[in-house]
């Protein structure tokens, strides 16, 4: 399935809608704009913001979901980051945790390096990939009203493996920077789950 044109969804409206009333949700954000979007929606101890390791967000979320099956997990990333670790979709699909959600903010661009087009601008469907990788639910979201139903499912720990490709407008927004101190972010996240630093 190829979408002819980008949707008019704005990422800074989509992400707060996705993260509102988040309850027990643990969130991993892919480097670049998804980290800034999550920060803009409100910093949270249960957010782990990536600033590097491009391609690793889904596998980090998979590790979390397997280790904490009683908490719902969201990986919030972008199309370029996800494409760099595409094999992670198959790894997640094969293991099939029922508490893992992946939401890809797809602007068909590499935002950090100058808005160069990604493969999703050239006919590649991430949602179809996820479907082929044994995901239970795969949505292509182009309207704000579709975020709510995805959010409700996302907060379940037994609704299956879920993937949403959220088509968004290509826009360069002011960066809302989370802490770049990875050790701080890690320890804060662990403390939120009741684990103290060594």
């Amino acid at each position: 399935m190829t979408l002819e044109s980008l949707s008019s969804l704005e990422r800074r409206k989509v992400v707060p809608e996705l993260l509102q009333d988040r309850g027990d949700l643990l969130v991993v954000t892919g480097l670049g704009s998804p980290s800034y979007d999550a920060m803009a929606a409100g910093d949270n101890d249960a957010n782990f913001y990536l600033w590097g390791g491009m391609g690793s967000s889904i596998t980090i979320g998979l590790g979390l979901a397997l280790a904490q099956p009683e908490r719902p997990v969201l990986v919030l990333t972008g199309d370029g980051e996800m494409l760099m670790g595409m094999g992670a979709l198959a790894t997640a699909g094969a293991k099939h945790p029922r508490n893992l959600n992946i939401a890809v903010l797809d602007n068909e661009r590499y935002g950090e390096t100058g808005m160069q087009l990604t493969h999703t601008a050239h006919g590649v469907s991430l949602a179809e990939l996820a479907k082929a990788c044994n995901f239970d639910r795969t949505d292509i979201i182009t309207e704000m009203e579709e975020i709510g139903p995805f959010r409700q499912q996302m907060q379940s720990t037994d609704a299956g493996l879920r993937f949403a490709q959220i088509k968004i407008k290509a826009e360069n927004l002011e960066k809302v920077l989370p802490s770049r101190d990875g050790v701080h972010i890690k320890n804060r996240f662990r403390a939120h789950l009741g684990f103290q630093p060594l």
Binding site: G52, G85, Q116, K175
Partner: protein
């Protein structure tokens, strides 16, 4: 293409050297440092570009091109060097003369602590995998380093990288 792009002048010089050497395929993961070079390669009739999802794909594509007598280059940011070592077995195991153009993060003037781990590892990864390292820290080093890498890989049959420091490129601010 924007002629006021900060990399326009040297990218054109580098592109001409690469094209003259018969490099016809520019594989790349986008970066600020290589985007004018890639735009030139997209525009010119002698050259084609190929967008990668992850840098190691470019190592294999360069090897495939070499198998059929063509020359290709892998253009990437330094963080992508970390994705390449296993595929660089092709360079060591079958002596494929892989050519790379690496734009540095995590060196001179870097402001993002997350860029340092890979920035600091580039030299040792290249050395470990047997890739010659031709550094550019000043504008007057660009032609020589590019020619040296092109000749080392094309004539010398050695894997080689042109490595552009942030001292030359400028560091990214926030």
């Amino acid at each position: 293409m924007n002629p006021d792009h900060p990399n326009a002048e040297w990218s054109a010089v580098m592109f001409d050297i690469l094209r003259d050497a018969g490099i016809g395929l520019f594989t790349h993961v986008p970066d600020h440092g290589n985007d004018f070079l890639i735009a030139l390669a997209m525009e010119h009739n002698d050259t084609r570009t190929l967008l990668l999802t992850s840098e190691e794909e470019g190592v294999a594509i360069c090897a495939g091109a070499d198998l059929v007598g063509k020359r290709a280059i892998l253009c990437m940011q330094s963080s992508g060097v970390g994705n390449c070592p296993n595929y660089l077995s092709l360079a060591k195991g079958a002596n494929f003369p892989i050519l790379m153009m690496i734009t540095m993060r995590g060196d001179y003037g870097e402001q993002n602590p997350w860029q340092y781990p890979m920035g600091e590892a580039v030299d040792s990864i290249l050395e470990t995998m047997g890739v010659l390292n031709f550094k550019v820290e000043r504008r007057d080093e660009l032609e020589k380093a590019t020619l040296a890498a092109v000749d080392a890989s094309g004539k010398g049959q050695k894997p080689a990288a042109i490595v552009l420091s942030q001292k030359f490129l400028g560091a990214k601010g926030f």
